[in-house]
């Protein structure tokens, strides 16, 4: 498939964009990447995603597809010659989708909150909830992996991509907040999986370096503080 047939509008720090990049890598799809700036969105982005005006947007043969989970499923349904991303069994697929929704709707919002929370007590409260969520995800990992290395079993799959894409920000927030969330003691399965995931061929070079994200978080915080400061 020609490179110009597939275009990804994205931004390097976005875990949602990273998901799509990993999926494209898994399927060995040639694509053109267009970096978008948060405060200066391109005409193409505004035209392709008028409803949300957000990245990622996949443009395939001039047709835009939006929302990271929807894009990943689309890629899986179109590029059927590559390795499957979703499991083949309907119940395993439902399980993967259930945990993907949990990670996006319940767990990640807490991580975002922790990034900007100040005060030891407040941070402790959120990190407690995050850790409880990680215990659930550890159990899910044990069930889904069936003794193998990934949520998808022997190979990386949907839930690996969905949850794994947050590992960059997870490590960054651990550094910013000065605490450890994933560790060998409470979540040994996830700790080993995280390393396995980040060193996978399709993932290497996609998830940004922790320090780069920490720097970006500092810049964003400073900008927000400046905007809300009394004039």
């Amino acid at each position: 498939m020609a490179k110009s047939d597939v275009k990804l509008l994205g931004a390097w720090p976005s875990p949602f964009v990273n998901r799509v990049q990993i999926a494209l890598n898994l399927k060995s799809v040639d694509y053109e990447f267009q970096e978008e700036k948060f405060d200066n969105k391109s005409e193409l982005l505004l035209k392709s995603n008028p409803v949300h005006k957000k990245v990622p947007v996949l443009i395939h043969n001039d047709k835009p597809i939006c929302e990271s989970l929807i894009i990943v499923q689309y890629l899986d349904e179109v590029w059927t010659s590559g390795p499957s991303i979703l499991p083949s069994d309907p119940y395993d697929r439902a399980t993967a989708r259930f945990w993907a929704a949990y990670v996006d709707d319940k767990w990640f919002p807490l991580l975002k909150e922790l990034r900007t929370t100040e005060g030891e007590e407040a941070k402790a409260e959120i990190s407690k909830k995050l850790k409880e969520g990680l215990v659930l995800l550890e159990e899910a990992f044990i069930k889904c992996s069936k003794g193998k290395g990934f949520f998808g079993g022997e190979r990386i799959g949907y839930l690996d991509i969905v949850f794994g894409s947050f590992l960059g920000w997870l490590k960054a927030v651990e550094k910013i907040a000065g605490l450890k969330l994933v560790g060998e003691l409470v979540t040994p399965g996830l700790a080993a999986w995280a390393e396995r995931f980040c060193s996978h061929e399709a993932v290497k070079g996609v998830i940004p370096e922790t320090d780069r994200l920490v720097e970006l978080a500092k810049i964003i915080q400073a900008r927000l503080k400046a905007q809300s400061a009394p004039k």
Binding site: I65, I70, Y74, E77, A94, F98
Partner: protein, 222 residues
């Protein structure tokens, strides 16, 4: 053929449960319905859905599933008759996109929020809900009876609550969202939807819904 034992844990007025029931009815899948009192959750519900403790929960041959959209896709993949999602991957992506959009902008943070809110917050919620409905109206224009054409499908089930529950919320919350002159395609779709054989006789009685939501409104004022 393995025995198909299907149980559905639900709550009579939950639109999330209704959409699962419509899917099962459309596919002709027999199921046992178990009514849950969500204000007094049973040990069974807490055991089957410990993560969210919510209905609907589908149990199929001992396999437990939760989250209505996840359940819909499972039903569609497991029972091939009367397909709910379109065949074409791009059309599927669009159906999933609009279902998510409506769920976020018209249901949760939309109409129900507007019904409960006061003053500025009410105006804001009303405005964004109507804006979202305009986009749905755009999707329906020139489509035929339903979002997918002549047959009912995934997106219809996802938005179906609009046809019978939104009018109740408008009544109880004294808000006006669904103006048929402003949203003629949506109004026509609502009528097709409530009259569909799989939907018609399964809707909760209007007066019962009014009483229930009046009470909830008082309890959940924001």
């Amino acid at each position: 053929m393995e025995s198909q034992e299907v149980k559905l844990l639900g709550f009579w007025v939950s639109p999330f449960v209704h959409r699962v029931e419509w899917a099962l009815k459309l596919k002709g899948v027999p199921y046992e319905y178990i009514e849950e009192d969500i204000f007094n959750k049973s040990p069974l519900l807490l055991e089957l859905n410990p993560v969210h403790k919510k209905v609907p929960v589908l149990v199929h041959n001992q396999k437990v599933l939760a989250e209505s959209f996840v359940i819909l896709e499972y039903i569609d993949e497991n029972w091939k008759q009367c397909p709910l999602l379109p065949q074409d991957p791009y059309d599927r992506a669009k159906a999933r996109f609009w279902a998510k959009f409506a769920e976020e902008k018209i249901l949760s943070d939309g109409a129900w929020r507007a019904a409960r809110a006061k003053g500025d917050n009410r105006e804001k919620a009303l405005g964004s809900t109507i804006e979202a409905l305009e986009k749905i109206e755009g999707e329906l224009k020139g489509k035929g009876k339903f979002f997918g054409g002549e047959s009912i499908g995934y997106l219809d089930l996802a938005l179906g609550w609009i046809s019978y529950m939104l009018p109740v919320w408008e009544d109880v919350g004294s808000i006006k969202i669904m103006d048929p002159t402003r949203f003629p395609a949506t109004a026509a779709w609502m009528s097709e939807f409530v009259n569909h054989p799989a939907v018609k006789d399964s809707l909760p009685p209007r007066d019962k819904m009014i009483i229930y939501f009046e009470k909830r409104l008082k309890e959940l004022e924001i």
